[in-house]
C-alpha cells in the first residue's frame, strides 16, 4: 500500500494525475522517469506546511511528497519488501536501488529531494531492513544522502536528515549534517529523531559554533539550544566548551 500522504486534495487534477502516474509505475516501472520530471508541473510546488515552513525547505513540498509516493510505487512494482532476506528480495532491492540512483543522478534539485524523501517513506514502511545489515537499497540511500549533504542547497540537506538519515547515517556524518542545517539557517525540526541521536560530541560542536558566531559579533541561532547540554545564551562566555566538553 502506498503510505505517503501528499496533501493533494482528492479529485483535483493534481490528485488525478498522481493516481494515474502511480498506476502507470505499477504497470511499467520505467515510466517513473517521466512522472518524476513532470510532478511539480502537475501537482504544484506548494510547501507542505506553509505556516511554519513557507519555502518548503524544512518539511518539503507537495511535489516532494508526490515523488516520494512514486518511489514507493516503484519499490512495489519491482518487488521490494516481498521476499525480505531471500535472493528474490535481494534482486528486487538491487533493481530498485539502481533505478533510484539513476533518478537522483539525472534529476534536478527537486527530483533529488524527491528521491531522498522516497527513502524516508520506504524507511517508515519498514522496507529497508534492520540497521547494521545494509541492503543494496540502504547502501544506495547512503551514497545519495552523502551527495545531498555536500550540496549548498539547504532543501537537499534537510531532505537527507529525515527518517532514513536518522536511522542509517553514521554518527559522524549525521552530526555534520545537523551542524550544517544550523549553519544554513534551517530549522532543526527538519531532522528526525534529533533528541535520540544527539550526543555530547554534537553538543561540543554546537557550542564551538556558537562561540565562533559570538566572536564574529553575529547572532546565535536559537535552535542551537537543542544541541547543547547547557542552555545557551548570546552572553555566555566564549570558553564554555573547555568546562563542559566530555569527549
Amino acid at each position: 500500500m502506498n503510505t505517503v500522504t501528499t496533501g493533494i486534495p482528492a479529485g483535483t487534477p493534481g490528485a488525478v494525475w498522481l493516481d494515474e502516474a502511480l498506476a502507470g509505475v505499477a504497470r511499467d516501472p520505467d515510466s517513473v522517469t517521466r512522472a518524476f520530471a513532470f510532478a511539480a508541473r502537475r501537482v504544484g510546488r506548494a510547501p507542505l506546511r506553509p505556516d511554519t515552513d513557507p519555502g518548503g525547505v524544512v518539511h518539503g513540498t507537495v511535489d516532494d511528497a508526490a515523488r516520494a509516493a512514486l518511489v514507493v510505487a516503484l519499490a512495489d512494482a519491482v518487488g521490494v519488501g516481498m521476499g525480505m532476506g531471500t535472493c528474490v528480495g535481494a534482486d528486487a532491492d538491487k533493481d530498485c536501488a539502481d533505478r533510484l540512483v539513476l533518478l537522483y543522478r539525472q534529476g534536478d534539485g527537486a527530483e533529488r529531494r524527491g528521491v531522498l524523501r522516497g527513502f524516508d517513506a520506504l524507511t517508515e514502511r519498514g522496507d529497508l531492513g534492520p540497521v547494521g545489515e545494509p541492503t543494496a537499497l540502504v547502501t544506495a540511500g547512503l551514497e545519495l544522502a552523502a551527495d545531498a549533504l555536500r550540496a549548498n542547497d539547504p532543501s537537499l540537506v534537510a531532505a537527507a536528515v529525515g527518517p532514513f538519515g536518522a536511522r542509517h547515517l553514521d554518527q559522524h556524518t549525521w552530526r555534520h549534517a545537523i551542524l550544517k542545517l544550523v549553519f544554513q539557517g534551517v530549522s532543526l525540526t527538519a531532522a528526525s529523531d534529533l533528541d535520540r541521536r544527539a550526543d555530547d560530541e554534537l553538543g561540543r560542536m554546537a557550542r564551538d559554533f556558537a562561540a565562533e558566531r559570538r566572536a564574529a559579533g553575529r547572532s546565535v541561532p536559537a535552535d542551537l539550544d537543542r544541541l547543547t547540554n547547557t542552555r545557551l545564551t548570546n552572553d555566555q562566555p566564549t570558553n564554555d566548551r573547555l568546562s563542559s566538553t566530555k569527549e
Binding site: 517521466r34 508541473r41 534539485g109
Partner: protein, 292 residues
C-alpha cells in the same frame, strides 16, 4: 517595469547582478545553454553544465527572488567537435525537465555540414518534446546565416511561431518577421545592437513578436540592458503598456508555449516589492554569503 530577460547567461554573473536585476524589476530569466569560452572536450562537462543550470543556478536565482529557467542544446560552435556531439544522446532527457522552456541555443556558427546536421537533429528533438526553439544567428555572415536558418526551420515543419531567432539587427529583422518567427535582439554595450537602435526598430516594425534581451555573459555585457531599453522606449514616447509587452508579455508568450514557465513570486518575495531588508528567509545561505 516587470521584466523577463529571455536570454542571459547567469552562471557567468555575480550575486550583485541578481540583486540589481531584482531591484530593476527582473522577476524571471531564461538561461540558454551555450559555449563556455573554453572549449569542452567531453559529454560529462556538458551534463555537469546542464545539471548546474537546472540545479544550482535555479537555486541561486531564487535566493534573490528571480525565477530561473533554461534552454538546453548542443551549441553550434561545439557541434563541430565529434567529442561534443555525443551529448546529443543525452539532450532528450533534459528536455523533459522542469524549467526547460526551449531547445537552444541552436543554429549556425560557421555554417559547416556538421552544424547543419546537429541543428536539424535538435529541431526534431524540439518537435518531439513539444518545446519551442531559440535560434542563435551567426556573428559572421549574419544575413546568409539567417536565411539558411529560416530555410532549415521551414524544412523541419516546425511552426514559425515556435521559433525565436536571436541576435538580430537592422539587416535581417525583416527576413525573420516575414517568416512568422519571433525576432530577438541582444542589447550590448558596444556591439550587436544598442537600446537607441532598438527603439528605432520598434518604431519601424511595431512591438508585436519583438523580444529584447541582455544576453549578458562572461564577455563585456550589461545585465540591465533590458531595463535601459524600456527606459529608452518611454523616453521616445512609447507607453508603459508597450514596454510591458516587449519586456514581459512577449517573452512570456513565446516561452509559455513550453507549458513550463514558473512566474509566481519566489516564496518570501512579494510581487512588485523589493525584499524587506534584514529579513532572513529560511535556508537563504547564498543571500547571507554562507558557504556551508
Amino acid at each position: 517595469m516587470r521584466i523577463l530577460d529571455p536570454h542571459i547567461h547567469m552562471t557567468s554573473r555575480t550575486t550583485d547582478d541578481y540583486e540589481a536585476l531584482y531591484a530593476a524589476g527582473v522577476r524571471a530569466v531564461v538561461e540558454p545553454a551555450f559555449w563556455l569560452g573554453q572549449p569542452r572536450t567531453s559529454v560529462g562537462s556538458f551534463t555537469d553544465y546542464f545539471d548546474s543550470l537546472l540545479g544550482w543556478e535555479r537555486f541561486r536565482a531564487a535566493q534573490f527572488g528571480v525565477r530561473h529557467h533554461a534552454t538546453i542544446a548542443l551549441n553550434p560552435k561545439e557541434a563541430n567537435d565529434p567529442r561534443c556531439r555525443e551529448v546529443l544522446a543525452e539532450i532528450p532527457r533534459y528536455l523533459l525537465k522542469d524549467g526547460v522552456v526551449a531547445v537552444g541555443e541552436v543554429g549556425y556558427d560557421s555554417m559547416t555540414p556538421e552544424e547543419d546536421e546537429v541543428f536539424a537533429a535538435q529541431l526534431g528533438m524540439a518537435e518531439e518534446a513539444g518545446l519551442p526553439v531559440l535560434v542563435h544567428t551567426p556573428h559572421r555572415d549574419k544575413l546568409a546565416g539567417t536565411r539558411r536558418t529560416l530555410d532549415v526551420v521551414r524544412e523541419s515543419g516546425l511552426a514559425p511561431e515556435r521559433v525565436l531567432v536571436d541576435h538580430l539587427n537592422e539587416t535581417n529583422v525583416a527576413l525573420v518577421r516575414d517568416a512568422g518567427a519571433w525576432a530577438g535582439f541582444s542589447i550590448y554595450p558596444d556591439t550587436k545592437m544598442d537600446e537607441h537602435r532598438m527603439v528605432a526598430l520598434l518604431q519601424e516594425y511595431g512591438t508585436e513578436r519583438m523580444i529584447v534581451n541582455s544576453a549578458a555573459d562572461w564577455g563585456r555585457s550589461d545585465p540591465l540592458k533590458t531595463v535601459r531599453t524600456g527606459e529608452a522606449m518611454l523616453a521616445a514616447g512609447f507607453s508603459e503598456d508597450d514596454v510591458d509587452q516587449v519586456l514581459w508579455r512577449n517573452p512570456v508568450a513565446f516561452y509559455e508555449q513550453s507549458g513550463n514557465l514558473v512566474l509566481d513570486p519566489v516564496p518570501g518575495f512579494s510581487a512588485g516589492e523589493p525584499p524587506t531588508p534584514g529579513v532572513e528567509f529560511e535556508g537563504s545561505s547564498v543571500l547571507r554569503g554562507a558557504r556551508a
